[in-house]
Chain length 381, copies 2
C-alpha cells in the first residue's frame, strides 16, 4: 500500500477574525502549498472540513484561487471533521486515485453569536437532554465530578491541566489565549458547570483555518518528510446512563485501531495533540490513548511527563483550551502542530527529538458518548 506523507502544513492564527472565511482558508491553503513547495495546479482533489458554513462551502472557499476544477469533498463529523477529512483523503491516496491532495478545516464561530456550541438539529434526544440542562459543559462537569470522587482527588488537578495548556499556548503565536494562568486563577474564574470553571472550558468564540498537503510522492522540500502511519475513524454508540461516564470507550477503540495500523505502541509516542475541550477530557484521554494505565492519569499529569520538556508533551500547541476550538479547523490544526513538532519547527515549544506524534478528536452528541465521531492519527518521521 502506498505511503502517505504530509508535505505541507499551515494555519491561520485562531482568533476572532474580522476577515472573511474565504480569506482564512486561502491563507491556510496557500501557506500549505508553499510549504510543500508545490503549485496550485498540482492539486488533484480537495477535502474541506466544516460544520456550520452551509451548502457546498468548500467550492465557494477556493473559487477565487482558481483551483475549483478538481474533485472537492465537503466533510462533516462534528469536532472530528478535519481529522475525518484527512482520513478520507489518505484512503484515496493509498488507493492511487490521486497523488497530491489538500485537506483543510475551517470554522467561523464568532459569527454564530458565541456561547455553547449550537446543538445539532433534527435530534429529539439532544433537545430533550438540553431541556434538562444536559449541555456539553454540564455533562463534562458530571464526568469531572465523578472523576474527582472515584479517585479522591482535589479540584486543583483539573486546574493543573488548564495551567499546563495555557503555559504552552503562551508560546504559540497561533493560539487565541496566550496568557499563562495559575491554579488559583483557574479555580477562581467564573463557574460554568461545577466543578468546571471558565478557564477549564475551551474558547468557542473563535475563527480559524488549517491546511495540510498530503501526497504519495516522497516530498522533496527541505523539511523532514512526515508520514501518516495510522488513521482511524469510529462512531459512538454508548447511551447516556448505560455505562461509566468516565469510560472513553469510543476514543480507546479508535486509538487501538490507529496504533495497530501504525504498528506503534502507546509507549513509543513522543508528542500528542488531544481533544481537551474541557480539562477533564484531557485526563480521560490520557488513559484512552494508553499514555498511562487506567486510573493513572492524574499521576501522569503531576509527574510532569505531559508538560513541555516532559517525556510525552501533550498539547504543546496549548490545545483547545488555549488555542480555541473552531470545530472544523481543529483536527487539521492538530496535525499542523504535530508536523511542526516532528520536523523540529515548533519554535519555543518544541518536543525535543520527537519522532512519533498522535492527534485525537472526539466530538458530537452529549459529551462524545452518544452519536459521536472519534478520530486518531499516528504520524512519524
Amino acid at each position: 500500500m502506498r505511503e502517505v506523507y504530509i508535505s505541507g502544513a499551515a494555519m491561520t492564527p485562531f482568533a476572532r477574525h474580522t476577515r472573511s472565511i474565504q480569506d482564512l482558508v486561502q491563507e491556510a491553503v496557500l501557506g500549505a502549498v508553499r510549504n510543500a513547495e508545490i503549485k496550485l495546479s498540482d492539486i488533484q482533489a480537495m477535502y474541506s472540513a466544516n460544520v456550520f458554513g452551509g451548502m457546498i462551502l468548500g467550492q465557494v472557499l477556493v473559487r477565487d484561487l482558481g483551483i475549483t476544477g478538481p474533485a472537492l469533498y465537503n466533510v462533516e463529523n462534528a469536532c472530528a471533521s478535519g481529522a475525518t477529512a484527512v482520513h478520507l483523503a489518505r484512503m484515496a491516496l493509498q488507493l492511487g486515485k490521486y497523488d497530491t491532495v489538500v485537506v483543510w478545516g475551517v470554522e467561523m464561530l464568532s459569527q454564530l453569536g458565541g456561547g455553547t456550541i449550537p446543538l445539532q438539529r433534527n435530534d429529539y434526544k439532544t433537545e430533550l437532554y438540553a431541556a434538562q440542562g444536559l449541555t456539553l459543559p454540564s455533562v463534562y462537569a458530571m464526568r469531572a465530578t465523578r472523576y474527582l470522587h472515584e479517585r479522591n482527588l482535589p479540584r486543583s488537578v483539573l486546574a493543573e491541566i488548564a495551567v499546563k495548556n495555557r503555559a504552552a499556548g503562551s508560546r504559540n503565536p497561533y493560539a487565541q489565549q496566550r496568557k499563562e494562568v495559575t491554579v488559583e486563577e483557574v479555580l477562581a474564574s467564573r463557574q460554568v458547570a461545577e466543578p468546571l470553571t471558565l478557564l477549564q472550558c475551551c474558547p468557542s468564540v473563535v475563527d480559524g483555518a488549517a491546511c495540510v498537503v498530503l501526497t504519495t510522492r516522497k516530498p522533496t522540500n527541505s523539511a523532514k518528510p512526515v508520514r501518516i502511519l495510522g488513521s482511524a475513524v469510529q462512531s459512538g454508540h454508548q447511551e447516556l446512563g448505560c455505562g461509566d461516564i468516565l469510560d472513553g470507550e469510543i476514543t480507546a477503540r479508535t486509538a487501538r485501531l490507529a496504533y495497530e495500523e501504525a504498528g506503534v505502541d502507546p509507549s513509543e509516542v513522543d508528542v500528542v495533540e488531544l481533544h481537551d475541550a474541557f480539562t477533564i477530557a484531557e485526563l480521560i484521554y490520557y488513559e484512552a490513548l494508553g499514555l498511562c494505565a487506567p486510573g493513572e492519569s492524574a499521576s501522569l499529569l503531576q509527574s510532569g511527563a505531559t508538560s513541555l520538556g516532559g517525556r510525552v508533551p501533550v498539547n504543546p500547541s496549548g490545545g483547545l483550551l488555549a488555542k480555541g476550538h473552531p470545530l472544523g479547523a481543529t483536527g487539521v490544526a492538530q496535525m499542523v502542530e504535530i508536523v511542526w513538532q516532528l520536523r523540529g519547527q515548533a519554535e519555543g515549544r518544541q518536543a525535543e527529538g520527537a519522532r512519533v506524534g498522535v492527534t485525537q478528536c472526539t466530538g458530537g452528541g452529549i459529551a462524545g458518548v452518544d452519536h459521536a465521531a472519534s478520530s486518531v492519527h499516528v504520524l512519524a518521521v
Copy 2:
C-alpha cells in the same frame, strides 16, 4: 483493483412526509440491508449524504438502529451529495478498507419553508447574484431562452421534457408527482422564470431517503449483481459571463472520466437517470453525457429515443421533475432506480434488457456553472 457491487437498494417514497427524518432513513437503510440479504452487523462503515440537516446528522439518524459503532462519514456536495458519498465509499471498498458499507442520502425540505432551494451562506457572490434576481430558476431560464434562440426551436420542446418525465413518474409509486400532463398544460402552468413554467421546475418541497449497500463480496442474493464500473466527481470553475451558458462543461468533463474508467462508450448506455432540475437541464445533459451529438438534443428527445420504450430511456423514474428533489437523497435515489432497471425490477417502467445504466448529478452555485459539484456513475450487470 477490487470490483464493487451494489447488492442492496431501497428508498422511501418522495413526498411531504410527516414522519421524522430518522424514520425515513431507517426505512431506507433497513430496506437496502434486507434487499442485500445481509445483517446490520455486517455494516463496516456508513456514508451519510445530506445538505441541510445540521451537525453530525448521520450518527443521529441511525442511533436507534444500534449500528452507530462503525465509522460514519457525513458528506455534502449540494445536489451531488448522495453521488459523492457513493464515490467516496467505492474508493474505500476498492482499497480493501471495508468490504461492506451502506450509503444513504436524505433531505427534509418540507421543513425549510419551501420555495427556491436556500442559497449557500458565506458567499458574497451568491448574495450579489441573488440580489440581482439571479436565482437558480432565472439562470436556467436564461439557458432555456438561449437554447431556443440558438436552435430556432419553439417553447414546446421544453414542455415535452416535462410531459415525458411526468408520464414516467405516473408509473413510479416512489414519485411525488404521479399525474401525467400535456404540453398545453405545461405551457399554461404558472410562469416561474420565462420561458420556464411551474411544471418545468422540479418540486423542491419534498422529503425522502434512499440507501444502497455496496460490497466487494460478490452478492449471493437472488437479484442480478450490479457493478459500479465508473465513478467520477469533479467541481465547477466556470464564471458566469465567461463562457457559453449552454455549455455543460463540468458535466461533460465528469462524464468523460466516468466513461473512461468504465471502458464504456456513451452509445452503449441503455438507461439514464439525470439531473433534470429544470426541463432545459435535461436537454443540455443529453449532449454533455454524449447521448447525442452537440446540437442534437431536441432531435433526440423528439425521436422518442429517451422515452420509456425508446433506445435509451432517460429518467424512467420520472426524474427530478416528477419524483421531486430532496437534495441529499437524489443521487442515491438515482442509483436505486438504475439498480432496479438493471435487475429488471422496475415494474411498469422497465427499460427492457438494460445492461448499462448511468446516473448524473450536477448542482451547487448559479445553475451549476460556478462553484459546482458534478458526479457521474456508470453501472452495469
